[in-house]
Amino acid sequence: MVSTSILAVSSHLSPGIVATAVGVPLQSGTTIVQLLVFALLLGGIYGLVALGLTMIFGVMDVINFAHGALMVLAMYIVWSLSSASGLTPLVFIPIAVVALFGVGILIHHFTIAPIMEAPQENQLIVTFGVMLILISSIEIAFSPNPRSYDIDLGSVGAAGVFIPEGQLYALVISITAVIGMWLFLQRTQLGRAIRGTADNRSGAKFVGINIKRIDYLTFGLGAALAGLAGAAIPLIQRFDPYIGDVYLINAFVIVVLGGLGSFPGALLGGMIIGFVQVFGQFYLPGSFYQVMIFMIFILVLLLRPEGLLGGKRT
């Protein structure tokens, strides 16, 4: 599978094509602003994906390989509901998020919960198995052909920078979700319980937090976040059953970059990788930006394995 290029920006195209593809005359100043907008957008989506992954890791100490598959599942849920009903895909995004929450709970119940105490590799292998099952089922049900939402969006512009509406919606969705998640984790009792469990599992148990229920909730929320990011992605690019792989691998990088289990770290890491990818795609040949992303990853692992905002594993 060839790495799927994100956004309309593809480095296989010349910079001129990139600029016209987003409806901007090629001027270096506006190009940079345009790229910054893309980077912010992609960074926001990456932040969402990584937030779900890092929650599951921080609270449960589980690496969820099925995360990318859950994103893809949400895409196809929105796509099929929208094409069956003829309504705009935007109204089905919340439905997909709720559905993914349920799927997350089910996956946790049947595959993770029974082996929470087992060695770490076991959970990794189980989630990889779930990923294979989900992706292959989607491939069989919907064929591997690329699809896109049936939605016709114009673009909004100001000061020479034009943002396609799809990207604007995706940006609004990801920023709202990140703020909402942030408030939930910081300001609510349940959010505090989740953070407490991430900080110290046994400590949380001693102060009366039902960590088993927190596990269910965390996995459900993590899946819902993956679902939201997944449902938003087709607003900015075409998708196929395998698109989750690229996001998953980059989300791992982001999560380690920000600090495994660190919520602000996931958002910061998402932004960094979003910028590296968008500018790398524009200025570097081929998919060299991916090489850069892995170099950053390895450097962080070696120099600061606790991540940029990981601190001492809080």
Binding site: M1, V2, S3, F57, D61, I63, T111, P114, I115, A118, Q120, E121, N122, L124, I125, V126, F128, G129, V130, M131, L132, I133, I135, S136, S137, E139, I140, P144, D245, I249, F252, V253, V256, L260, P285, G286, S287, F288, Q290, V291, F294, M295, F297, I298, L301, L302, P305
Partner: protein, 368 residues
């Protein structure tokens, strides 16, 4: 004492238990397994009452099964014995494939030499990964993710460098272009049967290596590191050095499978040999069979690979083999985390032949 002690099956179990505790048990079982594997291609032709094994199982399927048995055995030396869970063995597999195909395609250098070059490269890359990761004491999730990153890094580097074939990869050259024609020297054959015996020989070599390591002081140190690294270091085992040695040996042999892959199949692309799934295919037979055992990876591969191959062929839907594969992963981890080698004991426990389930004298599966 169980009431079933007197039954004949129970006696068989106790005999087996005694046998398993003998020092010659594992070599004998391995000998039997390899004996079967040697005659297996011939058995495909035999038809009993109009039904022959060959209708369901092809030689090609057996070859792929042996490839994954071989890689799992190699992976096991590092991850099963030493406990350093690698999720990036595709790096070594791919280096073996690329070392071989690059040299033979561009410079007409014999693939056997290419295989050794690839293996040395893989061992060096393994050492690099090991030095970097162990120096900074990456463990558990961090180590698994780091190994995955090193594998993905290679995939993207090769994808982007035209001189290394880029994304389209290489097509295997004809044997006449670098040798006298098909044959052992050219590492290319006109039929599948010689390939089968080549990969079987590889498997025999790595199995002997794994068995020797397991029963040596070296192996003892590796298992000590797996059980408790701090304790191992405290009693004076140079854990850093031994972990590196395990990685290098494991990487070296994994590369052979990549070389075999390159010479058996017609094309090599970065997205096939460095694929995410290759990492899993390499380690799965060891987990299914029994982590850290010598017999496990072979048994495991003969369960996993034919099942997904048969699923692919009989259901005729692309993707079903991966669903079967995924289900196997989930079921094995949930219901049989100690692998196939633990089944005789579990059966005995189930039927109450064991004096008590926690019997200290019970067969120690990890001795397989």
């Amino acid at each position: 004492m169980s009431s079933a002690t007197g039954s004949s099956l129970s006696t068989v179990w106790h005999r087996y238990k005694q046998f398993r505790n003998e020092s010659y048990a594992t070599p004998l079982l391995l000998g039997i397994i390899f004996g079967i594997l040697i005659v297996l291609p011939a058995l495909l032709e035999v038809s009993i009452a109009g039904y022959s094994l060959g209708t369901r199982v092809s030689l090609g399927m057996l070859i792929v099964t042996l490839v994954w048995a071989y890689t799992a055995q190699s992976w096991n030396i590092m991850s099963g014995f030493t406990g350093q869970f690698s999720f990036g063995h595709a790096a070594f597999f791919g280096l073996g494939a690329y070392g071989t195909i690059l040299l033979v395609s561009n410079y007409a250098i014999n693939p056997w030499i290419g295989m050794m070059v690839g293996a040395v490269l893989a061992a060096l890359y393994g050492l690099l990964i090991g030095v970097l990761c162990f120096r900074y004491e990456l463990q558990g999730h961090y180590f698994a993710l780091a190994t995955l990153a090193f594998a993905e890094l290679l995939r993207f580097i090769i994808n982007n460098i035209g001189a290394l074939g880029g994304a389209s990869g290489f097509i295997k050259p004809l044997p006449r272009e670098y040798a006298d024609g098909p044959g052992l020297l050219a590492f290319q054959f006109s039929t599948d049967l010689p390939y089968y015996y080549v990969i079987l020989t590889f498997l025999l070599i790595v199995t002997v290596v794994a068995f020797v390591i397991r029963n040596s002081r070296f192996g003892l140190y590796l298992f000590a590191i797996r059980e408790d690294e701090n304790a191992a270091a405290a009693v004076g085992i140079p854990t850093f050095k031994y972990k590196l040695a395990a990685v290098a040996v494991s990487a070296f042999f994994t590369a052979w499978a990549g070389a075999f892959w390159a010479m058996y199949f017609d094309t090599i692309r970065p997205d096939t040999v460095f694929d995410l799934l290759i990492n899993v295919e390499i380690l799965l037979p060891a987990i299914v069979g029994g982590l850290g055992t010598v017999i496990g990876p072979i048994l495991g591969s003969f369960i996993v690979t034919p099942l997904s191959e048969i699923a692919r062929q009989s259901l005729d839907l692309p993707g079903t083999d991966r669903i079967v594969y995924g289900l196997l992963l989930v079921l094995i981890v949930l219901y049989s985390p100690k692998g196939v080698v633990s089944w005789p004991k579990r059966l005995a426990d189930l039927l109450g032949w064991q004096e008590s389930p926690t019997d200290e004298d019970a067969v120690d599966e990890t001795r397989n």
